[in-house]
Every structure is written in structure tokens, then in C-alpha cells.
């Protein structure tokens, strides 16, 4: 039972991280209809920039994540302007090739600045509490709480604020959006900036638990794609439910079956979803 509670908390913390990373990807898909294969490298850069502010500059942990999110939002906007905007009328394959190019570029930049070796970010929040006999580290509690707060703010932004609503407007009807004066180009920039900032929050939260490496985004990239396919491409609730489902499945499988099976479970889930319900659990306008 204690083991189960322990794993449940680990799963929730991991789920929070997956959600934050997956939401950006699903928003970009909803607005631009492109799978941003470079999303994992934005997450990786987010982790390194957080590391830079925390360790090199020496600002407090939460401020470091916040500053890194702002830096990555700018990088996200630049990525949209320089790489994806010029390709907006090009065939789909061009976006994917460009995204792979951006991925290699970001990895090379990270390697040039921080080197290829693993780096460790000491957990700024130490200690743990005992809940129902299970030792839960404060870091994991912080992850879950922050994820919930950020998801709440994001939902408010997208549903209530006029700028956030433009994201949904573009997803639902591009022509209608243009005709009310919403500029697709501005919404694309907003979406990329937001997606990169969310990936950074995810990375900054999980960095003290994991190690930093220029390739750390690769595994995450595959998993967030699994999550948004599971939840339904472009669906916000889908990304949230998918994120927690996959994280819990992963943690539980690692514990009760084997660690290797835990790593593979994401892909078992994708295969099952694609076989049984190819549009995802929360299907929305995937067809063009």
C-alpha cells in the first residue's frame, strides 16, 4: 500500500510535467495543423536556461523558471517567425523537415554552450513529508501544485481572455477568424510563445529529479506525441487526461512489471488507441 501511494505521487508529478509539455504541442497542432517535432528540444532548452539562471546567475528557483519561460517564449516566437511563418503555404512535409532541422540546431546550440555531458541541477527544495506512510519529496509536491496552478491559469486565459480566445477561434474556423479581424500570424506567434513557455515550466520543474543533457528532449518528444494522440490531436482536455494517464501507466508498469516495460508502455498505449479509437479519446476537428 505504501509503495502504491509512493508511486501514485510519482505518477501525478510526472503527469503534471507531461501535461505542461503536451499542451503546447496540442495547441500548436490545433492552430497551425503541424506536428512540431522540435517541441522536445524547446523543453530541453528550457531546462538548460532554467539551470543557467539558477546555478550560473543564482536567482531563486521559482524566479529562474519564470525567467527561463520568458526567454523560451521569445525563442518560440522567433522559431515561428523564422522557420514556420515563411512555410505557412508550403506542403506539410516542409514543416516536418524544418522542424527536424530546428531540433538539430537547438541540440547543437545546447551542446556548444553547456557541453554534451550530463549536468545535475541540485534540488532547491529538499526534504519530504510522510503521507499515509509514504515518503513524498517536497519537489514532487511542488511539481503537482505548480502544474495545477499553471493549468488553471492557462484554461482561464484560453477560455476567458480575448487574446486566448483567438487561439480557439483560429482552431474552429480560420476564415471566420480572419473576417472578424483576428490575424492568424499573431495567433501563431502567441501559440508558439505559450507552448515554449509551458514546456520550460515542465522542464524546470522536473530538472532537479532528472539529469540535463542536450538529448533529454528526444524521449519526451515521443511521449508527448503519444499523449496528444491518446487525447485527440488539438484537444486541451485530451492533453491533460492523456498526460496523467500515460504518466500513471508508466510509473505503475515500471514498479509492478519492470522498468523497461515502463519505458515502453507509452507506445503500447499509442498502438492500442490507434487501433481502437484512431481519433483519440477527446476527438475534435482533426479532419481538415
Amino acid at each position: 500500500m505504501t509503495l502504491f501511494i509512493q508511486q501514485l505521487f510519482d505518477g501525478l508529478a510526472l503527469g503534471g510535467v507531461y501535461c505542461l509539455a503536451a499542451i503546447g504541442l496540442t495547441l500548436i497542432f490545433g492552430v497551425l495543423r503541424i506536428p512540431n517535432l522540435a517541441h522536445g528540444t524547446l523543453y530541453m532548452l528550457g531546462a538548460y536556461v532554467t539551470y543557467f539562471f539558477l546555478v550560473t546567475v543564482g536567482v531563486p528557483y521559482v524566479a529562474a523558471i519564470g525567467l527561463a519561460a520568458v526567454v523560451l517564449a521569445v525563442i518560440g516566437v522567433l522559431l515561428e517567425r523564422i522557420v514556420f511563418h515563411p512555410l505557412r503555404n508550403a506542403p506539410h512535409t516542409h514543416h516536418m523537415i524544418a522542424a527536424v532541422g530546428a531540433m538539430f540546431f537547438f541540440q547543437a546550440v545546447a551542446q556548444a554552450i553547456w557541453g554534451a555531458d550530463f549536468r545535475r541541477m541540485e534540488s532547491p527544495i529538499s526534504g519530504s513529508v510522510t503521507i499515509l506512510g509514504a515518503q513524498i519529496s517536497w519537489q514532487r509536491i511542488v511539481i503537482v501544485v505548480t502544474a495545477v496552478i499553471v493549468l488553471g491559469l492557462l484554461t482561464w486565459f484560453i477560455k476567458r481572455s480575448i487574446h486566448g480566445q483567438t487561439i480557439e477561434a483560429i482552431e474552429q474556423d480560420r476564415t471566420g477568424s480572419s473576417l472578424v479581424g483576428i490575424s492568424p500570424s499573431r495567433v501563431s506567434m502567441l501559440t508558439f510563445g505559450l507552448a515554449a513557455a509551458l514546456a520550460t515550466v515542465a522542464a524546470g520543474l522536473v530538472a532537479p529529479i532528472n539529469l540535463l543533457a542536450p538529448t533529454m528532449g528526444d524521449a519526451l518528444s515521443l511521449k508527448v506525441f503519444a499523449i496528444i494522440i491518446l487525447g485527440g490531436l488539438g484537444s486541451l482536455p485530451g492533453a491533460i487526461v492523456g498526460g496523467f494517464t500515460l504518466a500513471l501507466a508508466e510509473v505503475m508498469t515500471s514498479t509492478y512489471v519492470s522498468a523497461a516495460a515502463g519505458e515502453g508502455i507509452a507506445f503500447v498505449v499509442i498502438v492500442l488507441v490507434l487501433a481502437i479509437r484512431p481519433t483519440g479519446l477527446f476527438a475534435r476537428a482533426v479532419q481538415r
Partner: protein, 235 residues
């Protein structure tokens, strides 16, 4: 006032419109008649900046519209309520309307006024304001689409076949509302299949055929014109 001169436009280098001249005077209701495929929708889409013209000029209150982006055109006071409505189907009616006021978002007071005005014009939208727009009936969706266009506080409203697919009674309601909007001082450029009703509420009219203006005149001239009577009124 909208002045279109020598306008040619189309898709993938094939022109659908050929040197079209059309004028919509300020505050008047101008009717555009024409069979399916005559170029009405393409003309409207070119005016509102969705399609780029291959030749010609579009002057709106002294500004050249092809130089402006689609959102600046809305800001300049030209609203386009498209064929097929293009509502945000999963959003509540009121959110659709508020997004219609997107370009006026900094003037909250004005947006409130416009919203109240739209609800006065279409009380049913007030009753259904919390329902997703996609769940409304065809006529109500058309009203929501017109309302959304009015939310941008236009001086000229382009309406592309607002009665398409509606029952006769609902069509009459929608066209009554169009006449009311025009009486309130907003210029209207209306494409309509119901030539008779449209010309009755209109001031001037143009007939398009195969991408060219083949006939123009005051509404009453067109109503009496033998070609129009034969082609559109079934007389």
C-alpha cells in the same frame, strides 16, 4: 463608400472576376444579383482581403483595400458576413459575438453597446447566448453571423447570401433585419437569390454573369428590367 474599379481576381492564376466595376454608396443598400458561379463570392472575398486581386482597385472611404491586411480592413469599418456563415461552432453565441468585436476590444463601452444593439435586433440570440453556435437552427446561425459582423461596428456590411438554405418565413425575417440594419445607417452590400425581396429593400443593384457586370441601375429599374424579370423573377 466603396468603389471597385477594373477588379480581376481568382484562384491559382485562373481569374473568376474580369474587370468588375461596382459602387456601394455610403448608407445605401446595394444588391448584387447573379447565378451560382457568377463571381459574387469571389468579389466579396477579394474586397475583404481573403483573396488577393490580380488587377484593379478597391477604394473604401479613400483607402486602397488591397494594400491592407484582412484585419486592418475590418478595423477600417468593412465587415464581411460570409456565405456558409463560418461561425465558431463550439463556442457559445455570446463568445462568437464578443469575438466579432475583437478589433474594437480596447473600447469596452462601445462593445457593450454593440452587443446590446445586436440583442435588440435579434432577441433570440439573447435567449440562446450560452448555447454553442453550432447547435442553433439555420436561421438563428445566420442571425448570429450577421450579429457577429455588426459587432465590429462597420460602416459597410457585406452579406453573402444570408438566406441560403433557409425556409421562406425565416428568409423574410432575416431580410427584414437587413433592411433594419440599413435604416440604422449602415451601408449594405447584399448578394441574394431572392431578387425580388432584395431589390425591394435595396437602392441600387448590379447583375453579375460569368465574372462580369452585365447590368446595373437603381433597384426599381432592375425590378422592371425584362432580363432581370426573366432570369430572376420567373416572370
Amino acid at each position: 463608400m466603396l468603389t471597385v474599379r477594373g477588379l480581376s481576381a481568382g484562384y491559382d492564376a485562373v481569374d473568376v472576376l474580369h474587370a468588375v466595376d461596382i459602387t456601394a454608396r455610403a448608407g445605401e443598400l446595394t444588391v448584387v444579383l447573379g447565378a451560382n458561379g457568377s463571381g459574387k463570392t469571389t468579389m466579396f472575398r477579394t474586397i475583404s482581403g481573403i483573396v488577393r486581386p490580380s488587377a484593379g482597385s478597391i477604394d473604401f472611404d479613400g483607402r486602397q483595400l488591397p494594400d491592407l491586411s484582412a484585419d486592418s480592413i475590418v478595423k477600417a469599418g468593412l465587415a464581411h458576413c460570409p456565405e456558409g456563415r463560418h461561425l465558431f461552432a463550439k463556442m457559445p453565441v455570446e463568445k462568437n459575438l464578443m469575438l466579432g468585436g475583437y478589433v474594437r476590444r480596447r473600447n469596452r463601452g462601445r462593445v457593450r453597446e454593440l452587443l446590446e444593439h445586436v440583442y435588440e435586433l435579434f432577441p433570440i440570440l439573447h435567449d440562446k447566448r450560452h448555447q454553442p453556435a453550432g447547435t442553433l437552427s439555420g436561421g438563428q446561425q445566420q442571425m448570429a453571423a450577421i450579429g457577429r459582423s455588426l459587432m465590429s461596428d462597420p460602416s459597410l456590411l457585406i452579406l453573402d447570401e444570408p438566406s441560403m438554405g433557409l425556409a421562406p418565413l425565416v428568409t423574410a425575417q432575416v431580410l427584414d433585419a437587413v433592411a433594419q440594419i440599413n435604416r440604422d445607417g449602415i451601408g449594405v452590400l447584399l448578394a441574394e437569390q431572392n431578387a425580388q425581396t432584395a431589390l425591394r429593400i435595396g437602392h441600387h443593384g448590379f447583375v453579375l454573369a460569368e465574372g462580369r457586370v452585365v447590368l446595373s441601375g437603381t433597384a426599381s429599374e432592375l425590378l422592371d428590367h425584362p432580363d432581370v424579370r426573366e432570369a430572376y423573377l420567373g416572370v
